[in-house]
Symmetry: C2
Subunit: 515 residues, 2 copies
């Protein structure tokens, strides 16, 4: 029975000198089955104009050997699909510096100044896509789904069209994004997004077996996992090739069917984009003097912390939201999600604990708590978009009385991308809290009847917490003042707020979690 | 930094006497965090009329303790979403026997005679859904995707509507399926399918930690994995609860965020639906005499085997397709996919190797080859629909000159369901080979100008192999006779074929793989 299959047994020995006969592929390179000798062999048939998926999040889990090989090869006019644009001298930045890319499809490109320069100078097209939509477009491409509906980006530039993709040399927009179809399901509006499928997917995994089965390490799984499935030719560079059978069939992250080529990279130059360290506390150390700005941020954070509940899952944006996690009460369990693929985020590492394969969505070195889980970006945003995260907290440039949020773009100024923000606020069933200073630096209100900046989400906010006030936002009701800070009157709040609001019959002084 | 999170450390000890304080939930049952004491506690708040997802494939990986608890509880009017209907006295069959279900949504219900009786007697609604579409509808429900497009089922009853869902007592159809929207992408037509989200998901996993992180065993992962994500309340029954931190964050199949309740089941009564055993060969044993029918099947299988290529991934239907794997040449590696979640299917087990958690899509006990991988049903059909399986081989009742296939339904006769067949043939890029006896038992042709039976797929066939002939099917060209068996003339083939065909200039005798 199934006799022919027994041939695989020959690969199943524990001796890693594989018995496959070496042969020459169509591209001419020497290889053994799926195993290639080097990065340059594995990318030998990439042609000018190819569309390539690049795994990684920031510079974590990037296929650095293949990027270097593409630089050496000098192919041009590449469309690169990558969540980020790397940094100037690392990751996708290496190819951008060499002007080998004509287009980047990603969610956040702010860390690469050369990319932004080329974009604004009309040398590079940039198609900004919400991070979760990007992950799902890739997942769909691999899964034979040509299009799907998502709540993300509805009633924003992403859906309405008009986002600049390409400028000319004089800074005039020559290509802008098209409007996308909208359809209503169960009384809610959704955007139709089409899938992404590429010529190549270049991914980085921790280990592979000769059949191409892959295992990733920690948060280096990120976009690598869905990208494996969405290209004609997927090439995985790995740190270790183990014999067939050495990986348990229950533990494989990506089955070999998706992977056409593998090679072992050496001397990995893994960097941490934002190294953050927990310094061990010195005996007798006291809290540093806090600045007025710091005190204001702490006040907001201590109010936010009252929203945590035992057993809750939360995603916290950079800044005040993360700060609020300092005030989670002892004994209360709140599990933090990081959209690059972590559930159970822990504190920053000590120097010895730093692992370049373990970063948060802010690209900072982190640790995880016992019981944590790692997953790919497609799973992470399925979790977010599906409303499984109870609470999302993030900052804002402007908010409106109807719950609109603007926090990703100032037209005419630098556009870095929306990252995962549009997905985080779009999930029905997830409570969205906005934390921000009540007024802009020039004193103008940030809470408005309607936002003037391009939206991140329409009607998505549940609660606004500033240093001066707490507003509830309700559909069909608008703003209700629940609390205001000591030293202010309702009239003071009205004077510095650009939208009408009701005052709750139970309005009270702004609460603070006890420390 | 992130101080509150440190509370989780208390759960991270290796001592499984958890420190969480016991408390009473809204439903009144005693529990510790997510851990419930029993199945009856865990399902205490299920109400009449609930929509429930039941994990499992056939009776492999079913939540048997919760099914028993629901039987004891006696809730009625349940809509059960389950790939299969179990068998008469096991799995979902237990609840069907008690008439606790008013509707079943599944892909194949043929193993349960009582289910079919209730369906035809107007006592039970049955909504048949292609297996891959069912898995993707559930995956989408969990991922916040209200609808998606799939090639599966286009131009069949599934898309055109009219499939009987409910009969009255007199056998008249009172509810039939609605037509579904169609849209074209890249020149191909796709069906829009809406997602499934339920009140409860009842799943069976191998082990859990107190945070609800889950690990499945082998092919018992199947529908359990996607179902965890697509319900308001997911309850997992497990064979083992391990301490927090005992499962590596890289090895978790379903993160705890999706799982609200867990309990440990005991005395699992796992059954194998179709026990198949490889008997060790006796010395001097010779091949049994073969019947004429057997010889015919062997002839087809030996022709089919010529289509295998080294390194290929294939999905083989029950019968002649599976038989063809006996003839895969020594030294050629063909990796077999089984749509219930296996890549790298091996031969039937010896008596000692039988594992009820390891079955193929035909519900037979199997083994796997070294380098195999297990995955959930959503991943399995993403693989299939995405065209990653190179070859799919299955049987037919009728085929047409334009490549239409009919192999799942005879109107007025018993309808068992399409299982995964519609998904398997719909994938663009996958070669579809049909193996069948050239003529029906009454001698009538099965190769026709157009099919009279409801279609499994439209224009999906690439090659037809019967005991008499091999036809190529090409879009816009139709049938071309490539080979015919010894003892026949082209005129003979024409006489027993119900469609016109061209004869290849290179037409030759029907080839057979050498044994």
């Amino acid at each position: 029975m199934l006799r022919g299959l027994a041939a695989y047994n020959r690969l199943g020995n524990k001796n890693p000198t594989f018995k496959l006969v070496a042969c020459y592929s169509t591209a001419g390179q020497r290889r053994q089955g799926k195993i290639y000798e080097s990065a340059s062999d594995a990318v030998a048939d990439v042609k000018d104009g190819s569309k390539i998926l690049f795994g990684g999040f920031g510079i974590c889990g990037i296929p650095e050997k293949m990027i270097e090989a593409l630089k050496q090869k000098g192919v041009k006019n590449i469309t690169g699909v990558s969540n980020n644009g790397g940094v100037d001298d690392c990751g996708l930045g290496v190819l951008i510096k060499q002007k080998q890319l004509s287009k980047v499809i990603g969610s956040y490109v702010g860390e690469n100044t050369e990319l932004v320069r080329q974009y604004l100078a009309g040398e590079l097209a940039v198609e900004l896509t919400p991070q979760g939509t990007l992950a799902e477009k890739i997942r769909a491409g691999g899964a034979g789904i040509p299009a799907f509906f998502t709540p993300t980006g509805y009633a924003t530039l992403v859906q309405q069209g008009g986002a600049p993709i390409k400028y000319d040399k004089n800074g005039k927009v020559t290509v802008s994004s098209a409007a996308k179809p909208v359809q209503s399901f169960n009384g809610r509006n959704y955007v139709m997004e089409e899938s992404i499928f590429a010529d190549f997917a270049f991914v980085k995994a921790q280990k592979a077996d000769p059949l191409g089965n892959l295992i990733f390490n920690k948060s280096a799984r990120n976009f690598n996992a869905p990208m494996c499935r969405a290209a004609k030719i997927t090439v995985a560079e790995v740190e270790e090739i183990v014999p067939v059978g050495a990986i348990s069939p229950d533990e494989i992250h990506v089955p070999g069917i998706y992977v056409k080529r593998i090679f072992k990279g050496t001397n990995y130059n893994k960097r941490v984009e934002r190294l953050r360290i927990t310094e061990p506390k010195q005996n007798g150390e006291t809290a540093a003097e806090t600045s007025p700005g710091q005190a204001l941020r702490e006040r907001i954070a201590r109010r936010v912390a009252l929203e945590f509940r035992d057993g809750m899952y939360a995603n916290l944006g950079i800044g005040i939201p993360v700060l609020s996690s300092n005030y989670i009460p002892q004994g209360m369990n709140v599990m933090l999600q990081s959209e690059n693929g972590i559930l159970g985020l822990g504190p920053f590492p000590t120097k010895d604990q730093v692992d370049p394969d373990l970063i948060n969505a802010g690209k900072e070195s982190v640790t995880v708590m016992p019981g944590a889980a790692y997953f790919g970006s497609d799973e992470s945003f399925a979790m977010i978009r599906g409303g499984h995260v109870d609470l999302t907290i993030l900052g804002a440039m402007e908010v409106s009385a109807t719950g609109d949020l603007a926090n990703w773009m100032i037209p005419g100024k630098l556009v870095k991308g929306m990252g995962g923000a549009m997905d985080l606020v779009a999930a029905p069933g997830t409570k969205v809290i906005i934390t921000m200073e009540h007024n802009a630096r020039d004193g103008s209100p940030k809470i408005l009847e309607s936002c003037s900046l391009p939206l991140t989400g329409k009607g998505v906010i549940d609660l606004i917490i500033s240093e001066k006030a707490v507003f509830q936002v309700e559909k069909g009701v608008g703003l209700t003042l629940l609390e205001f800070a000591e030293g202010y009157t309702v009239d003071d709040i009205a004077a510095c707020t650009g939208a009408k609001f009701s005052v709750s019959p139970n309005v009270k002084p702004m609460a603070q979690i006890s420390v």
